[in-house]
């Protein structure tokens, strides 16, 4: 079966005149199965946007091979572009109304009829904004219009770069629901980047962590949680000098909140409390829970 996206040893070096080269990607290998939502997670500057831009044929990598829907993305660029699309940031041509923007982009895909434009306007709930200038819309509605643009050519693979960035929680939820609904209705592959761990867990069938231009880990959210070898965490409210804290377990400190990662929380808790007491730190409360994707993300991002 043809994969939606395949990357082999993809490198990207940004070369700027009179400035130092920047290596954004270092030998990325990636396979995205057809019909899934694939998440790319990573800290700022990890290379997510560069990678998604290469997959969408906007950028050409310095080295490596990229296949989209079984086609070489840089030998069959036009054919690939007819079957993919991207939404990245909330931008549209300046000075134009929402309907005009969508009509313009539809025409760029050879779509002459107005029906397709009308359909995406209603699918993305933009009816009341169709005659407003894009610049005058709220960030949420700009995002909707951008998503509508990304679905104009009925793509088989859609790349979404941080689709809920800078949105209020309500609108972010709405956009997430919209993505899930469209994915189900259209049976397409979606590759998205996000900082939001909850979003990744909620939307993505598979997730890849990018760090320093490399894929640090890849799998389902459950597989990734197992990746850390720690399956549970204990959140402790502590009192005392925690600046020189020493521990046999991985931990994270945030003010007087101490998160310790362990294999078995119930078993480890008594020894943790004793170790803290030995260092003059008192425990006020303790809460045990399963590890989250965010914990994995932080651990991978910090390289611990």
């Amino acid at each position: 079966m043809v994969k939606a996206v395949e990357c082999r040893d993809v490198w990207m070096v940004y070369r700027t005149f009179m400035e130092k080269d920047t290596v954004a990607l270092r030998g990325v290998n990636l396979d995205v199965e057809d019909g899934i939502i694939f998440g790319l997670l990573g800290p700022n500057g990890a290379g997510k946007t560069t990678l998604i831009s290469i997959l969408a044929t906007i950028l050409i990598p310095t080295r490596g091979e990229v296949r989209v829907l079984g086609m070489d993305a840089f030998k069959n660029t036009r054919k690939v572009r007819e079957r993919i699309n991207i939404s990245s940031g909330v931008r549209m041509p300046w000075g134009m109304k929402v309907y005009e923007c969508l009509r313009f982009y539809a025409m760029c895909y050879g779509i002459t009829g107005r029906k397709v434009v009308e359909d995406v306007i209603s699918e993305f709930e933009l009816e009341e904004h169709r005659n407003k200038r894009f610049d005058d819309l709220s960030t949420g509605n700009k995002q909707k219009a951008n998503l509508a643009r990304a679905f104009l050519n009925n793509p088989e693979v859609v790349f979404l770069d941080e689709p809920t960035a800078n949105l209020d929680p309500d609108m972010a939820k709405k956009i997430r629901e919209m993505i899930l609904r469209i994915k189900e209705e259209r049976d397409i592959t979606i590759v998205l980047t996000t900082h939001n761990m909850k979003e990744a867990e909620l939307l993505c069938d598979r997730i890849a962590f990018i760090k320093d231009g490399k894929i640090a880990a890849e799998g389902t959210s459950e597989e990734l949680k197992r990746y850390t070898k720690m399956s549970e965490r204990i959140i402790l409210k502590v009192r005392g000098d925690v600046s020189r804290l020493s521990f046999p377990y991985p931990f994270r400190l945030d003010g007087n909140s101490l998160t310790v990662f362990v294999e078995d929380a119930e078993k480890a808790l008594p020894s943790i409390v004793i170790k803290l007491a030995e260092q003059g730190i008192n425990v006020e409360s303790a809460k045990m829970e399963e590890i989250t994707l965010e914990d994995v993300f932080i651990e991978l991002a910090e390289g611990s």
């Binding site: 906007i58 931008r91 041509p93």
Partner: protein, 268 residues
């Protein structure tokens, strides 16, 4: 048959997309109509009045009026072609046209078509105004006029494509050329004077610009001497050569911008 028809429809749609975008912008933005009418009229009236003040003969007035009209039409039409890159650079949405299957030459063709409409409106207005105010008359046959108009509109396309290339190579720093390049070109192609008065190497440079020969062709109908016997043929050869060359360079510049990441910089 059906396949070729639908692919033709697709090609036309891709070309007309860029005409539609410029139309929408012109419709929505008052300044787009203003720049099409106001500045050309100001130039024409001020230069025409200067001619009257200097007691220039009718032929000399015609000489400079032809220059004003040409400059205005080219400036208006070229900006529409430049908008292919400029608009997206301003809106930081360049990646969205790059990701469409529309090739660059179709983008500029569509934008040029609408620019030509705007240019033609200005041309008609300026000719009527100069006839009314300064007694300017069209003495050349309709076919010659059509050749001249098509020639200067294609010259505008050359300048517009050149501007797009500059944006793809130098990014935002090239924005200034969108408004200045026409004036620079006009300095060397003898807009208000024959290129023969230019010192070398500027005279040779002027002769390498097709607009020089289109102007000479037009002015030859008003009794002015031309440098070469058939300026229209030279102008056409130069226009076609530069068009082919610039389209190839534009494709190379686009590939380079995608390799260096400039496309992303212009989109974020």
């Amino acid at each position: 048959m059906r396949t070729s028809l639908s692919s033709l429809q697709k090609v036309l749609s891709e070309i007309l997309a860029f005409a539609y975008r410029n139309y929408a912008l012109t419709k929505n933005e008052f300044y787009a109509i203003f720049e099409m009418l106001f500045w050309p009229m100001i130039s024409l009236i001020s230069v025409g009045l200067l001619g009257e003040f200097l007691y220039l003969e009718k032929d000399a007035v015609a000489f400079i009026i032809i220059g004003v009209i040409t400059l205005s039409v080219i400036q208006i039409a070229q900006i529409d072609v430049t908008y292919v890159m400029l608009l997206d650079m301003w809106s930081m949405s360049l990646k969205y046209i790059i990701v469409t299957p529309t090739p660059f030459y179709r983008m500029v063709t569509g934008a040029w078509l609408f620019g030509s409409v705007r240019g033609l409106i200005s041309l008609v207005l300026l000719i009527l105004l100069s006839a009314w105010l300064f007694g300017f008359t069209l003495t050349l046959p309709l076919t010659a006029m059509a050749a001249f108009v098509l020639g200067i509109l294609l010259s505008a396309m050359l300048i517009g494509i050149f501007n797009c290339i500059l944006i793809l190579v130098f990014g935002r720093r090239a924005e200034i050329f969108a408004w200045t390049l026409t004036a620079i070109v006009m300095l060397f192609c003898g807009i208000y004077y024959p290129v023969t008065i230019l010192p070398e190497p500027f005279k040779t440079l002027g002769l390498l610009i097709p607009i020089t020969h289109y102007l000479e062709f037009f002015r030859s109908f008003y009794g002015f001497q031309t440098v070469f016997p058939n300026p229209l043929a030279i102008a056409i050869v130069e226009t076609i050569t530069y068009l082919a060359l610039l389209l190839v360079v534009a494709e190379i510049s686009m590939l380079r911008a995608r390799k260096t990441g400039l496309v992303l910089k212009l989109s974020d």
